[in-house]
Symmetry: C2
Subunit: 136 residues, 2 copies
C-alpha cells in the first residue's frame, strides 16, 4: 500500500496539465466548449474537502477564489461555476468553469449536456496560456 | 438603493429555513429526494465567492466543511456534492447535497434529473431536526 499521490487516470485522460499551486495540480478540461480548470490537491486518498486539514481547506479556498477571479477576468465570463462532485471519479477534484449566457448549457449546469468538443491546436495553446496566467 | 441583505425570493420559495451560522443563512431544499442544504452568506450583492473578503472566504469554507462533514455522518451518505453555480439565481448560494449510490441521479449531478418530490410532514420534521444538528 502506498500513500503517494497519483493523479486519477480518468482525470489525466480528460485534461491537459496547466501547472501547480502549492497545494494543487491544475488541469484544463479537454472540452473546448467552456474555459474549465480542475484543481486536484496533491494528497493521497482525499475524497471530500472535509477530509483535508483545516489549514489545507483554507489554502484550497484561496486557490479556488484566486483562480476563479483571474479566469473570470481573463475569459470575460458572465458567471463562475465552482463544484466538488466526484461521484464518478472518487479522487477529490474541484471544477472551476466559466459560463456565458450564450453557452451550450446556459442556464443549467454543464454536466450531461451535449458532447464535448475538441480544442484545435491554436485554441488549445491560447487556452493553456490564459490558464497559466491565472495561477497564483 | 439599499445594501441590506435580503434572501432572493426564489431561494425562499424553494427551501425551508434551518438556521444561521455567523456568516450564512442555512436553508433546506424542498426536494425530498436528497438531503440538501443551501448556504447563503448574508451580504448584499454577492454573486461569486471571490466577491467576498479573504476573511469571509475562510469563514465560508469553514461553514461548508463543518456542515458537509456533519451531514455526511448524520445522513450516512456515500458522497458529498458541493457547488456554487448561480446561473439562474444570481445571489451567491452554495449547495451541499448528500448523495447515495442508489439515488435518483447517481452518478450524475442532481440538476435536471426528474421532478422534485415533496417532503411529508413527518419527513420534513425529521430532516429539519437533522439539519439543525449539523450547524456549527
Amino acid at each position: 500500500m502506498t500513500d503517494r499521490f497519483e493523479l486519477h487516470p480518468q482525470l489525466a485522460k480528460d485534461t491537459h496539465p496547466v501547472g501547480q499551486t502549492d497545494l494543487c495540480e491544475v488541469l484544463l478540461s479537454r472540452d473546448a466548449r467552456y474555459p474549465w480548470l480542475i484543481l486536484v490537491p496533491r494528497q493521497a486518498g482525499l475524497r471530500e474537502m472535509h477530509d483535508m486539514s483545516n489549514a489545507d481547506q483554507m489554502r484550497l479556498m484561496t486557490d479556488i477564489t484566486h483562480i476563479s477571479k483571474a479566469m473570470q477576468k481573463v475569459w470575460q465570463a458572465d458567471k463562475v461555476n465552482v463544484a466538488a462532485l466526484g461521484n464518478m471519479v472518487p479522487q477529490l477534484h474541484i471544477h472551476i468553469i466559466m459560463r456565458y449566457r450564450d453557452d451550450a448549457a446556459w442556464p443549467g449546469p454543464i454536466w450531461g449536456v451535449g458532447a464535448a468538443q475538441h480544442y484545435s491546436d491554436a485554441a488549445l495553446t491560447d487556452a493553456l496560456t490564459r490558464a497559466a496566467s491565472c495561477l497564483p
